[in-house]
Structures are given as C-alpha cells and as structure tokens.
Symmetry: none
Subunit: 290 residues, 2 copies
C-alpha cells in the first residue's frame, strides 16, 4: 500500500490514461456506483461493465493489486475508513476539495437554484411551451440578448435539426426588424431576457405580440417586462456566489425542452437528423466516434 493517502477512486482516475479502451470502460463502470460494484463477485462486475472476465483480472493487476480479492479488501478498508469520518454529509460535491472551495459553494447554489426553479414551475405551462415550439406549422423565432444569445443559439442549433422554419434573432443587432416583417399570426417567439433587461428585446416582443405571435419567455425570478405580452413565462433562479448570474438552470430547462420537443414530433424529426448526420459524415466534418 505505498499509494499513500489517496483513495482507490483517485488512483483509478489517475491510471485512466494507462488503461486500454475496455479497461477504461470497466474502470468508469467501477466509478459509476462506487464502491458497491467492486465489492461483488468478479464475474458480476465484468457483466455489469460489459467486458470479459479476463479484462477485469488484467486491469486489477494493472492497478497494482495481486488479485481481485486484494482489490476488494482495499475497497472495504476505504469504505470502513470513510464511514467513520463524521463528514459523511454530502454538502461537499467535489469530495477532494474542502467544503469552502468554490467548486462546492457554487454547485451547492446551483442545485438550490434548480430545486427552487423546478419546484415552482408549472408543468402545464412547460408542456404548452413545448407544444408551441414543436409545431412545425408555426415559424419559430429565437431571440437572445447580449449574454443570453448564447443560450438562444444553443436552442437554435438543436431546433434547426429538429424542425424547419427556425430563425435566430439577436435583439442587440439592428437587423431584427427585418425578421419581424416575416412574422405572421400564430408564429412563435422564444425570447430570452434576464436582468439587466434589454429595451430592444422588450420592443421586439411587443411588436411580435401586436402581430399576433405567441411568445415563450425564458427569464429570471424577477421576470422581464416582456412577461406582460408572453403566452408562457418560465422563470429561473439565477443567483450564485459570483459577480455574474448563472445560466445553468436555464440551460437545464432548455435541454429538457429540447428533449421534449424532439419526442413530440419524433417521426418527422428522425429523417432530418439522419440526413444531417449523413451530410456531416460525408463532408468528414467530424471524426467517427467509437
């Protein structure tokens, strides 16, 4: 046990580079629900990680143990030690960092934001927003501000794959009035607006509303003035220990929305995705992953 004070989890993590693919797959599986999985029989672990028995035997030795039983014994020792420590509270997310470390403070705040945001969300409103966004008969405009335009673009990138007739508008640009000319009754605007609320965005929203468009607003807990003309308003907690606001909660909601919308018209979407993947493959834009 020359490996000093580091946990086996650390050790495995450090060795990750020296492991081959199957071994790494196994290692990640061990870490997945650590340490329980490593305490069962070797064969069970192999099946769980979807690798062969010899692979497990090989990796354990590569990690420096004489055999699987010795590895298990080490795990048990660690578990025994860990339980004894009264700091078993899970307020440390990054276990290797002190609880006052920014990693833990920030994560704690974000989780709290998520809890509060989700706790007061109206599932009906959420579903309604998804329905609107999924409806390919409506042109979809996605509007972001100075900071939020990255979120808007994230949504745009995905919607572009899922459905036709999507436009990304930046409210800080002076070209958005041109886009608005094309908007007709029943079209949908997804608008991002958090403090400090932007006048451009409000103006855009009002004009869109006048033209009979539906508005889905993604805002913060104090709600942008846009909410007065919004059909659906989803408000997020965004306060974190930082000089900035957090977009993480909104990102979560956004991705949930993307997942939901995609499910809603999967049949129509599937072909689009496959076509796109083919095109990417053909142009070799990406490297095939395995």
């Amino acid at each position: 046990m020359a490996e000093a004070a580091q946990t086996i989890s650390d050790h495995i993590h450090k060795m990750l580079d020296d492991l081959t693919r199957a071994e790494r797959q196994l290692a990640l599986s061990v870490l997945e629900n650590y340490p329980a999985s490593g305490l069962g029989p070797l064969t069970a672990l192999a099946k769980d990680a979807d690798v062969s028995v010899p692979t497990v035997a090989r990796m354990v030795q590569k990690l420096g143990y004489k055999g699987y039983p010795e590895f298990q014994a080490a795990l048990r020792e660690e578990l025994k030690a860990k339980v004894k420590t009264p700091i078993a509270k899970h307020d440390t997310w990054a276990e290797a960092a002190p609880s006052g470390h920014i990693l833990n403070r920030f994560t704690e705040a974000v989780i709290e934001n998520i809890r509060l945001t989700l706790g007061q969300i109206d599932p009906t409103a959420f579903d309604q927003a998804c329905d609107l966004i999924a409806d390919a008969d409506r042109h979809l405009f996605i509007v972001g501000g100075r900071i939020t335009h990255t979120l808007a673009e994230y949504l745009f990138l995905h919607m572009q794959v899922i459905r036709p007739h999507v436009t990304h508008v930046q409210s800080t640009s002076n070209t958005w009035p041109h886009y608005l000319l094309n908007a007709k009754e029943g079209d949908v605007f997804v608008i991002f607006d958090v403090r400090r609320y932007e006048n451009n965005t409000l103006k855009l929203a009002e004009l869109a509303h006048e033209r009979g468009a539906k508005i889905v607003l993604m805002t913060d807990q104090w709600r942008s003035p846009v909410h007065q003309v919004a059909t659906v308003c989803l408000s997020n907690r965004i306060v974190v220990p930082s000089a900035w606001d957090s977009a993480t909660t909104m990102m979560l909601l956004l991705e949930t929305m993307i997942s939901s919308v995609q499910t809603l018209n999967w049949t129509q979407t599937k072909a689009r995705i496959e076509g796109l993947e083919d095109m990417f493959d053909q142009t070799k834009l990406f490297r095939k992953f395995t």
Copy 2:
C-alpha cells in the same frame, strides 16, 4: 425477505432481541463498522466478531437470507442506493408534475451527472486551470466546435470583461489557422470538445501544443483525443434521456471557473467592468427605443 422498505441495519436492530448471545455479539460487530465488515468473507467476519463460523452461518439464515452471499448482495444493493440517496431525497423536482414527467426525469439525470462529475474532479487541476486562464500575461484563446461553440462563446463573453487579450476561435471555421499564427509560447487555449470529437479541433490543439501553448480541455467522460496534449483536462458527464448530450454540467463548471477567475484578479477586473458599463450606458446600446 419482505422487509424491503427498511435497511438491513434496521432489520438487524429489530432482530437483536431474538438472537442468542454469540449471535448478538456478531450482530453488534456487523453494525460496528457497517456495512464494510459484512462485505468481506464469512470467515473474516467470524474472526472479527470473535465467534465461530457456524454462528455466522446460522445468524444469517435467522435473519431471513438463504445464505451469506445473499446477505452480502443485499448489503451491496443498500450501499449502492445509499450513495445515491443524498440527492435522491428529491424524488420529484417539479412537484406539480408526475415523477415520470420529462422535467423530473431530465433533472434527475442532470443532477446525477453533476454529482458524478464533481465527485471525480481534481480540485488541483481545476485551480490550475483557473490560474492559467486568469493570467493576463498569457493571451487567451477559446475554442469551440459545432455545438460547443455556444459554451465557448459564453466563456468568451465573460472573459472579455474580466481580462484583456482574449480571442474566440471557432474550430469549424477555416480562419483559425490565422489566429494560431499569433499564439506564442505560454499562451492558453481553452478547448471544448465532446463527442463526436472534431478533427479540426484536434488538429488545432496539436498545433497549439507544438507552439508551446498550455491547453485546458473541457470534454466528456470519454475524453476527447485532445487530452493527450492538454495541460489540464476536465471531464464531464453528459448523458441524459434525450437524443442529445447535455451541456448543463459543463455550463456549471464553466460558470464556477468564471467566478473563480474573476476573484483571482478582482482588482484588475473591477476597473474593466466599470468602464464597460459606462460605455454601454453612454452609447445607449440598449436604449435605442426608450
């Protein structure tokens, strides 16, 4: 084994009265450092509790298990569940929605991603990354791919405020070689690369590495090939119930990083922020329509 609802520890406690002296002695030893001792071999447990082997076998059956292995399996299951529990107390995040609703399923997955990502992150590496990014003497290049470029831009927007000499590079664009010409030894590249990994990004990273630049890599749990030339590699869990991967965990890490970097050179940053705010006000960039 109908006692599904309660923990094995509880169960043992309850049975304590029905046990004989040696069995009780054994049971207490099991509870002593629970559950580690029960996960080793039967003989070890017997010796540990200072009872005989048959006593262990007898007690296990008295507890209602078919044999010692089954008892161990139950312990492992409980351990597995327990590790997850600190967060799982929020069975339903969106209280108004059924637990099967996508809002709850998705959030559950993201929280799990966060837990796993933070759990295996190396705070030293994280701090090192922050130090590199905070160092105004090094030019900072931020590189994103097709999807990740929104994250890259999010980082860029903030870094632009916090420090000078920041450049946003899109690896999918064919203009990035021009940026690379300006990179000199000691400069820092923050590179985003998740599956499916992009060849352009890898090429860019390799060239940057050759020029002596430091590379901070934000990638997924399988790690982009860029990690071979990276100074710091931060890997994130990204799997969610969706056709796409989740960027939420990475966003969290990113914002934590921004917060940390900003704190590191706050004195230098403060003036920049104030100056910028003034400029926004003066140019009325956001008030055109008031």
